[in-house]
Amino acid sequence: MDKNRMKSIIESILFAWGEPIKIGEISKILNIKPSMTKNILSEMAEEYEAENRGIVLKKANEMYQLKTKDENFTYINQLFKPNTRNSLSHSALEALSIIAYKQPVTKIEIDQIRGVKSDYILRSLVDKKLIAIKGKLDKPGKPSIYGTTDHFLSHFGLESIENLPELSFEENIENVENIMNESD
């Protein structure tokens, strides 16, 4: 099978499936190596870009999805009913940021940083598949540890977890220590 044929098949798969699909899944269908699939997918992404197409190939970790181009949003938006694409609440975003940077993390750690209980928020984030329970900590009470999912990456347009914006945290802590020392 030549490369162009594979490209055509993969494009059809992505279109028909709609949601993000794993490289492994595509490779299995085509019976080719995942590295080959990855290769073709990145070529496709470049082609869409170069040809100024109306669709883009979005990557989130090992998942790929066809989406419409952001430039065309105002036009597509006219087809949508208002308010069907609801965003996350402020509190949910807070909890999500803590999980994203501190994962794997327990609920107690999240509560401590936020100063409020996060039970409800965590449950709704799990329901939305933005976070998942990654295991249990071997400590009294066996607390669940949370981490972000591939769906989280695609929700925020991140190709991988390393693409998160950098924290200015270390800097801040150093500042505190310096100033505290000075005041003493």
């Binding site: 709609g18 402020h90 100063g115 924290l167 505290m180 005041s183």
Partner: protein, 239 residues
């Protein structure tokens, strides 16, 4: 009432505290604990006055602030840490994630402009012959089919349904009488003997129920010599 607008946006005690520090334009590393505590408690009071649900976390923070305030009043020895230190580092950590969450918010909004479709439910018929071929069906076919259906409906109109009510062959009362008679003669009967006369399922069930009924009414006692041994019926002396 102008407070409500502000109060609604606080997502926790740190959020409120942060707002106070920023609106007072004070240095976070040198919080004027007296003023901030006063204002904080003022806000929490307003929350309660407005009948809003003040969660325990807000109260906890109020007491932490009061504790720090009282510690600040005491003379501090050399080398003892500032009572505000823990709070400040917590606040700073919170601030980091708060600003990150705002960043994520803008990323989320941007990403929404790329529109993807939800998964399609893709199904196909495994047996092509079963697919309906509409091309060859005319309106008349539909009409005939419908008429046939109606005709069938008439033919199948339900007839009178006749139920047969079966007469009870044995009643519990009858059996109780029989057992009583037997007991009057024999004083002690084994359960097996009673059942031996008729082996039908109905009879066994009825006799069993009547034995239970009689023992409940204290007409007889059930005795057994040893575990899993034969069970005997004895006329209860009380009755």
């Amino acid at each position: 009432m102008k407070y409500i607008v502000h109060l609604n946006k606080f997502h926790g005690p740190f959020d409120l505290l942060f707002y106070l520090i920023e609106s007072n334009e004070v240095d976070i590393y040198d919080i004027p604990i007296y003023e901030i505590t006063e204002q904080y408690i003022g806000y929490v009071d307003t929350l309660q006055d407005l009948d809003m649900d003040v969660t325990s976390e807000f109260i906890l923070m109020a007491s932490t602030l009061l504790e720090i305030k009282s510690k600040m009043l005491l003379p501090r020895k050399e080398g003892v840490e500032d009572p505000r230190e823990d709070l400040v580092s917590q606040l700073l950590e919170y601030k980091v994630y708060k600003s990150v969450s705002e960043l994520l918010k803008t990323k989320e909004d941007k990403e929404k402009e790329f529109v993807g479709k939800p998964a399609e439910e893709i199904q196909y018929d495994s047996n092509f012959n079963e697919q309906l071929l509409f091309e060859e069906i005319s309106v008349y076919d539909l009409m005939y089919t419908f008429q046939n259906l109606l005709k069938n409906c008439k033919d199948n109109e339900p007839e009178e349904i006749i139920f047969e009510i079966q007469k009870d062959e044995f009643t519990i009362n009858d059996c109780m009488d029989i057992i009583n008679e037997k007991l009057d003669i024999l004083k002690k009967i084994s359960i097996r003997d009673i059942f031996s006369s008729n082996k039908s399922r109905k009879f066994i069930v009825t006799v069993f129920l009547s034995i239970l009924e009689m023992s409940k009414l204290k007409n007889l006692r059930l005795v057994q010599d040893y575990t899993f041994g034969e069970i005997y019926l004895i006329k209860d002396s009380v009755s």
